[in-house]
Amino acid sequence: MICEIGAFLHKGEGTKIVAHFKEDPRVLGAYVEAGRTSDLFRFREFGSASENDIVMLIANQIDTDSLFDEVCDLAGIDAPQRGLVFLMPLHTRIGV
């Protein structure tokens, strides 16, 4: 089964993660998107919201355990105010 590892991180952090996994054979696809968040981080540079990065890594389920931990580690989410990482199964077919 194919899974998605997603992460909501600070602006600029997503690009680093995608760059890190670009050549990784376990990763089928790595994407980063720019967005805004109003309540994920305490610091809001534009008053009501701050910019953030959304990472999307697509991988086979066998690889997701190790990848998930690596993403968590790279993103440093064991420290406060860093964002979050999630794992989502994509049940249907996927074309790569």
Partner: protein, 536 residues
């Protein structure tokens, strides 16, 4: 049909911006100045045209002009060498200045200048008009080039601002040292403000963003900004330089003598042709502001870059909307907003002094009247700025680039607040005969200090917002008022309001950015930075 919600949303967005301003002007005139309203029917039709034209123009900007600009900016660095790219941008800068209708408004001021009191100002506005506009254009062109070089190499905007503002202030002080030249300062600083209008700003911004995306260093999402800033600073230097040059070659006495020798020449040239009759002139202005630029850019795209329009139908639709919208908007300005502004502006001095058209004047005693006039100017500045299309475009761009984190409304309100305070100060300058330099120098120093402490994002947006505030809504309203008041109190010159309106928003936006950081406490920001450091 979904056409109703599609157009409805856009129409009502502009209605909300224009209606309060018009209502305010009418209420002020009827209730405070107790003057009846002339031609109420034409006024309402004009106001409707303003709203309708603005809605069309903004949609045209979004669908046509701005994606078009971004496309050019994106292709230029890939297909053209650096010198070619820079010369295209410089030509664009000069062209944009000639297209800007507000430059003409400055020239119209020239006739009203008293030659014996401000000889060099008179000389520049009457006999040096072409070199003046050309130099302002060159300043804008140079600014556009510098701005491009800046974001291709990823320089910070802060040192560039320090290196431009400080010499400008120094030259201003040098000019101030010569009493005959003193009156030039207002003109020079106002020229900087008027160069950037409703077509220039979105186009320059979108081209800058395109270039920053394809050639710039990755970094802040707002790094494509900063060109408009320089475009309003360098022309100031250019005009001051020209003034110093003229002062070298002609003495004040020569000018006064020459002016007295040919008094009737200018009035003879005022004969109105078909092209300057009312609705035609506005259409010509609207077409002139957009079409030459678009044709030049199409030439660049097709001939120099050998590229095609990616989405021809959309872009054409947008460009057509923009031109039509601009024309309708211009007509609406003449018959609607501009007319009300002119009526109110002319009646305004009645609040504190005796004028011919109002038998009951002065309506209030001196002190109350002055307070009324200045607070009127403040609210007028606020309303007019919110209706300004260039500010709308800037806000939209900022909001899109930050994915909505930097809200359009937030930017617009802080800029409008800044402009309002600036205009009130400028009016006070005219009423009390203050010298512009006593306002300019401290305010710009404050802006530089704030710049030093602000983040790059806010610096870029703040300095750019200074250029966008003085567009087709604000300039005629403010100039009408400034001219009326200037005549009433017989000031030497009515310049300086616009330059006050430019520095206001810079301070307001920078202040807002610093306020957010202060309110959230420096620890939450330090926390983010520390954790970012520690993770890698």
């Amino acid at each position: 049909m979904l056409i109703a919600p599609y157009s409805g949303v856009r129409f009502f967005a502009q209605l909300r911006a224009v209606l309060p301003l018009a209502a305010y002007l009418i209420a002020f005139q009827l209730l405070i100045l107790r003057q009846p309203l002339d031609a109420a029917l034409t006024l309402s039709a004009g106001l409707f045209a303003v709203v309708f034209g603005l809605a069309l123009f903004m949609e045209g900007l979004n669908v046509g002009l701005m994606p078009f600009g971004t496309l050019i900016g994106d292709r230029l660095p890939r297909r053209a060498s650096m010198p070619v790219m820079l010369s295209i941008i410089a030509v664009l800068g000069v062209g944009v200045t000639f297209a800007e209708p507000a430059i003409g408004a400055l020239q119209a001021f020239g006739v009203s200048v008293d030659v014996t009191r401000a000889p060099y100002l008179y000389e520049l506005l009457n006999n040096w008009t072409l070199p003046l506009v050309l130099l302002v254009g060159l300043g804008v062109g140079l600014a556009a080039m510098l701005g491009t070089v800046r974001f291709v190499y990823g320089w910070s905007l802060k040192p560039v601002i320090f290196l431009t503002v400080l010499p400008t202030i120094c030259v201003t002080l040098i000019v101030y040292a010569n009493p005959d030249l003193r009156a030039i300062i207002g003109l020079a600083w106002d020229c900087g403000a008027v160069t950037t209008g409703p077509v220039t700003v979105p186009l320059v911004l979108s081209i800058g963003i395109g270039i920053a995306n394809s050639a710039g260093k990755p970094g802040s999402s707002l790094s494509g900004f900063g060109v408009v800033t320089l475009a309003s600073l360098l022309p100031i230097l250019a005009v001051l330089g020209l003034a110093l040059f003229v002062a070298e070659i002609r003495s004040p006495d020569e000018i006064i003598a020459a002016a007295k020798a040919m008094p009737a020449a200018s009035t003879a040239a005022q004969a109105r042709g078909f092209w300057s009759t009312s609705p035609v002139q506005e259409v010509v202005l609207g077409v002139r502001a957009i079409l030459p630029l678009v044709v030049f850019l199409l030439f660049v795209l097709f001939v120099l870059l050998r590229d095609r329009l990616a989405n021809r139908v959309f872009t054409t639709y947008g460009l057509v909307l923009a031109v039509i919208g601009m024309c309708i908007f211009n007509i609406g300005l003449t018959f609607g907003l501009g007319a009300i502004g002119g009526q109110t502006g002319a009646a305004l001095p009645a609040a504190f002094m005796q004028i011919d058209t109002n038998a009951a004047s002065p309506l209030y005693d001196m002190r109350l009247g002055l307070v009324l006039v200045i607070s009127f100017a403040w609210v007028l500045g606020l309303g007019a700025t919110l209706a300004e299309p260039a500010l709308n475009a800037l806000g939209l761009t900022v909001q899109n680039l930050t994915n909505g984190a930097f809200r359009k409304s937030m930017l617009m309100y802080s800029v409008a607040l800044g402009v309002a305070s600036g205009i009130a100060l400028g009016i006070a300058k005219i009423l009390f005969g203050l010298n512009l330099i006593y306002l300019l120098v401290p305010l710009y120093t404050l802006a530089l200090v704030l710049t030093f402490f602000s983040t790059e994002e806010f610096v870029c947006v703040a300095w750019d917002s200074a250029g966008v505030t003085t567009g087709p809504v604000t300039v005629p309203l403010v100039l009408a008022m400034g001219l009326g008041l200037g005549k009433a109190v017989s000031a030497v010159e009515g310049f300086g309001i616009l330059s006050m309106a430019s520095i206001g928003p810079i301070i307001a936006v920078l202040g807002m950015g610093l306020f957010f950081r202060f309110r959230q406490g420096s620890d939450s920001e330090a926390e983010v930075e520390a954790s970012l450091e520690g993770a890698h």
